[in-house]
Amino acid sequence: MEIAVLAIGVLLPFVLKDYLTVYATRVLILCLFALSFDLVWGYAGIMSFGQAVFFGTAGYGVALIARDLGVTSILLVLPAGLLIGLAFALVLGGFLLLGRHPSSVIFVALGTLTGSYAADRVARGWYYLGGQNGIPSIPPMSLGSYDIVEGPVYYYLVLGILLLVYLVCRFLVRSQFGLALAGLRENEQRIAFFGYQVQRLKAIIFSFAGAIAGLAGSLYAFHEGFVWPNMLGVVMSTQVVLYVLFGGSGTLIGAVIGTVAIEAVSFWLSNDYQDIWPIILGVLLLLVILFRPAGLISLILGERERVGRFGRPPRERE
């Protein structure tokens, strides 16, 4: 399944028109963003309802670095975006997750949502950040003297980064650390009695996911050429929840499939049904969530395959 998706991803620019390759690049960046939310919610059971705050702050951060400092080197701006996402997630995660007592799902959901909403309002009201209009005309990302502009090169850059992040996440969720995350998601109180420091575990995965969202946000900023307050706010935060729920939370490939499916359907519907496409999309999402609560991926994988196995089954020993 994963190989098939990768093969399609590699071949796509050869069959798509240029403007569609640009659109596909945007979708791949959103897949990266969806992976970050899937890690915290699908794997660790932390409802980060404001994941866009890391995506957007990193986007704004690299836009300012490019605009005010003239730094556009890919070797500097992408690590900077990653670090900005990580730093914001550390601060917000420290506040929401590292209290004396374990935080409830609702507390974290509302806390992250508030963070996202507050960041959106700050961006809208701050002249330095461009207010409602955001920061336009960000210079393109560069490698040496070469400008990386939207098109096939940017597409393959994003595909490569997505693949790398996907493999790192895959390694992580299949490791013993992934088993600890599964325990966290299934019964947080139970694993605390085994000796797991659950708040610390949560803060670690939350920060790691924040870094991925930051990386996605910085790629998005340079790809679009401008950043705007919606990137930080509730709309983007809700969108990523839908991607993951639609595709199937708790599976990495589910997050990718969900993002591609929603964006592809939106693209097609917005062309052919210009007036009512959001309603059709909403109904589709509702149908999937009602009848396939485990997402589209559950059409292919059973519960056992989705949860996965962490230890060696006995027959492998013999």
């Binding site: 088993l179 599964a182 694993i191 085994f194 006995p314």
Partner: protein
């Protein structure tokens, strides 16, 4: 020297005093039973021992160290392990992974990320499953087990990290007579390895495996001593046994 000691524990929930100056002392390799009628404070005392509840007043020491305010994870790291009253195995995971999850709790973060202890712990996981007669079902999800088998799995999870003090809250709850008998057999061999505090309603079961008993009534200790002492205690017979 006692391995575990609780002195003058008081636990108040609103207007209800669940524990009213309860004491509990457990020696090394001692099997200690907590009995008492419903509402006598057994489970609350167990929760205060395990760290699920922090007592309103009183002191708890483990291995000579004051752990009264310590959270559950810290107590677990010190060598205390709990089996909950309500079965709380992780149903979506395999039996193997349930045990591995319990065993790897004290592995460092880098070792978890790079799965450094997965191979090392394999034999211990299999040994626990073997000991609790679940080895044939290692690769199945815990959700498909019968209630009694889930109780065994949870005891195995609590025992896997080789605790100094094992806390079992009603381990035979909901089990058939045969399953209770087998549970007694499964618990006997651990006597050489750790101390045990057990809350149980089945007096025959608790009489068979425990060295000492503490009888609670209305949040206070009614009597404490050997099984023979408790069986012949007029106070216990008056207040507790007559009600059962």
């Amino acid at each position: 020297m006692a391995l575990f000691e609780a002195r003058g524990l008081i636990k108040v929930f609103g207007k209800l005093t669940a524990l009213n100056g309860a004491d509990l002392t457990v020696a090394e390799n001692e099997f200690h039973g907590l009995i008492g009628p419903n509402g006598s404070g057994k489970s609350t005392l167990m929760k205060c021992v395990a760290g699920a509840e922090i007592p309103t007043a009183g002191k708890v020491t483990f291995g000579g160290r004051d752990i009264t305010q310590a959270p559950p994870a810290e107590r677990a790291r010190a060598g205390m392990s709990l089996k909950f009253q309500i079965t709380s195995v992780l149903p979506a995971l395999t039996l193997y992974d349930n045990i591995l999850l319990a065993l790897q709790a004290q592995t460092s973060l880098p070792s978890l990320v790079f799965s450094r202890t997965r191979g090392v712990l394999h034999d211990r996981v299999m040994a626990m499953l073997e000991q609790f007669r679940l080895v044939d079902r290692a690769a199945e999800s815990a959700s498909v087990l019968s209630h009694g088998q889930q109780q065994w799995l949870e005891i195995a999870m609590a025992l896997a990290p080789e605790p100094k003090l094992l806390l079992l809250d009603e381990p035979t709850g909901g089990m058939s007579l045969e399953e209770r008998r087998v549970t007694g057999e499964l618990l006997q061999p651990i006597k050489k390895r750790c101390s045990l505090v057990i809350v149980e309603h089945d007096l025959d079961f608790i009489r068979d495996i425990c060295d000492r008993l503490t009888v609670l009534d209305q949040g206070s200790v009614l009597d404490c001593g050997s099984v023979q002492h408790i069986q012949s205690s007029a106070r216990v017979q008056e207040v507790y046994l007559r009600r059962v």
